[in-house]
Amino acid sequence: MQKQESIAPGYWLLSLHSPQIASAAAPGQFVMLKIDKSFDPLLPRPMSIHSVIKEDNNRIGFTILYKVMGKGTRLLSEKRSGESLVVIGPLGKGFNLNHISSGCEPIVVGGGIGIAPLLFLAHKLLERGWTPSVLLGANSQQELLRLDEFESSGLIPKVSTEDGSKGVKGMVTDLLGSYLEDRKGVHGEVFACGPSPMLEKVASQAKEYGLNSQLSLEQRMACGLGACLGCVVRIRDKEGSQLSFQRVCTEGPVFNGEDIIW
């Protein structure tokens, strides 16, 4: 654990030193982080890789952006630099960029703390030659996080807040709606992370406009390794209609919007 800073009330940015994890990491992947030696809380917590830290062009560590939700994240926020944390990763399948063509327009959509995996994704897209559109939403201006980092990469996120304190007043799905309406027929792919109702909406919006969507899902986890079968979500079988349970930690956390049964 290198350092930890509060970037907004209740939101923390944690920097961890780990060349191994950093060099293997792909956007959308996550780590399992055991917050404390004690048995309370017992289980490690899944956290997306928010960005990689480089030194002389070598990946030496990574950051985690998190929101204080309950016992675990509260305790984590009380840790100070110098303490060591047990972390395993990178885990899961990240966003799939292999099938998207160079002419495709990536649309990156984040709601609330859902922006966590999206900065790394945006960086990767830029590196590979795409310039994604970035749409971010939050409750209020205060909770619109990391805009500077997107901007300093040359991206200009469109933003919305529910209280109207910054950008468009409303939800990020409203932003996405007008965005897609404005460019009907665009050849693009939607990458999204955020609360479940938002993702459900994003999936149906993307579908409506004929776009593929890749959504990063959450589920409570125990092992993160595919062993406990605790983290499943409902996914449509290859055949298309049958229900199957797939593991967020192994088959996910990123799933195709069309395959998810909400």
């Binding site: 289980l43 490690p44 986890m221 125990a222 062993a227 406990c228 079968l229 605790g230 499943v232 349970f245």
Partner: protein, 309 residues
């Protein structure tokens, strides 16, 4: 005085020989292969597969797990790929490792167990079967097999007839007197007993007023249940003559030794794999070191060695 030779770690469970008493527990170690990136399976005494049955089981809808104080609840619903898929997809890779592969089996009626035992009997590379009798018996109105001594007896006896593999019967703790069930399993021909499975529990999410698990109730595991598990191992060891494999909340070397002292010949590590994924390997080393430091030449000397006035 320092022991010159290495202490003996191997143990014999009435027909099943293990290189050391550390076994990964069913349902917490997947099919073993999930943990290959973390350590060499050949170092472990053994591993128990996720509970398998004769069909592909989807399991329960999510959410399936939730954390509790020093423990967790799960209601996976015994999701598994089925015995056939296990044999063709997992076993060939698993048998490359020099460790005891113990297959955990279950069913909804006795016939399911019988078929599973018959199917696995001939298969190469399987060291033993662990018979999970903590499942609801649909023929008896959902009553768990392992809560009734006579049902336990019949089930184990039927399975016994179908296989020459060593049988380890895994007992449920949700009973008034676990020693009665243990004796039934022994009488019916079990080679060994493993205990305990999870305690039935429940959690509610106050903000939604709903059960935290879609299945409403689930199995409690982890350090929270260790005192109950240790007591049951202690009680059972005094009532049966077959070896006992202890489990329930084990998360440290000290815990391993407690179970051995209470009468277990080996232990299984369950939930601890989740919050300490390399624990099984570490325990093998730590146990050896402990024996060396304490000048104990053979781990079997610890079994049942609790001191009582």
């Amino acid at each position: 005085m320092v022991a010159e030779s290495s202490p003996i770690l191997s143990i014999e469970l009435n027909g099943l020989k293990l290189k050391n008493p550390i076994i990964a527990a069913s349902g917490t170690f997947g099919y073993g292969l999930e943990y290959v990136p973390l350590g060499d399976l050949s170092k472990l005494g053994g591993m128990v597969t996720k509970g398998l049955c004769m069909w592909e089981e989807k399991g329960n809808p999510p959410p399936r797990i939730c954390e509790t104080p020093a423990g967790m609840l799960n209601s996976i619903g015994l999701e598994n790929i089925g015995i056939e898929n296990f044999i063709t997809e997992k076993l060939p890779q698993l048998i490359q490792y020099d460790t005891a592969i113990i297959v955990n089996i279950w069913g909804r009626e006795i016939d399911d167990y019988i078929k599973a035992a018959e199917r696995l009997d001939a298969v190469n590379g399987i060291a033993a079967l662990e018979v999970n009798i903590s499942c609801p018996n649909i023929k008896k109105g959902g009553l768990t097999f392992g809560t009734d001594p006579s049902v336990t007896f019949e089930l184990v006896q039927q399975v016994r007839k179908r296989t020459s593999l060593p049988l380890m019967v895994k007992l449920t703790p949700n009973v008034t007197d676990i020693t009665l069930i243990a004796r039934s399993a022994e009488d019916a021909g079990a080679n060994a007993l493993s205990l305990i499975n999870t305690l039935l529990g429940m959690e509610i999410d106050v903000s939604t007023r709903r059960p935290s698990l879609a299945n409403i109730t689930g199995g409690l595991s982890g350090p929270a249940i260790r005192p109950v598990a240790l007591r049951m191992v202690y009680q059972t060891a005094r009532q049966v003559n077959i070896p006992i494999v202890g489990l329930g909340g084990i998360s440290s070397l000290a815990d391993v030794i407690k179970f051995l002292l209470a009468g277990a010949s080996a232990v299984q590590i369950g939930t601890a794999n989740f919050f300490d994924p390399t624990i099984c390997w570490r325990l093998v080393d730590e146990l050896e070191e402990y024996l060396r430091n304490e000048n104990i030449s053979d781990v079997n000397q610890l079994v049942g060695a609790i001191i009582e006035e």
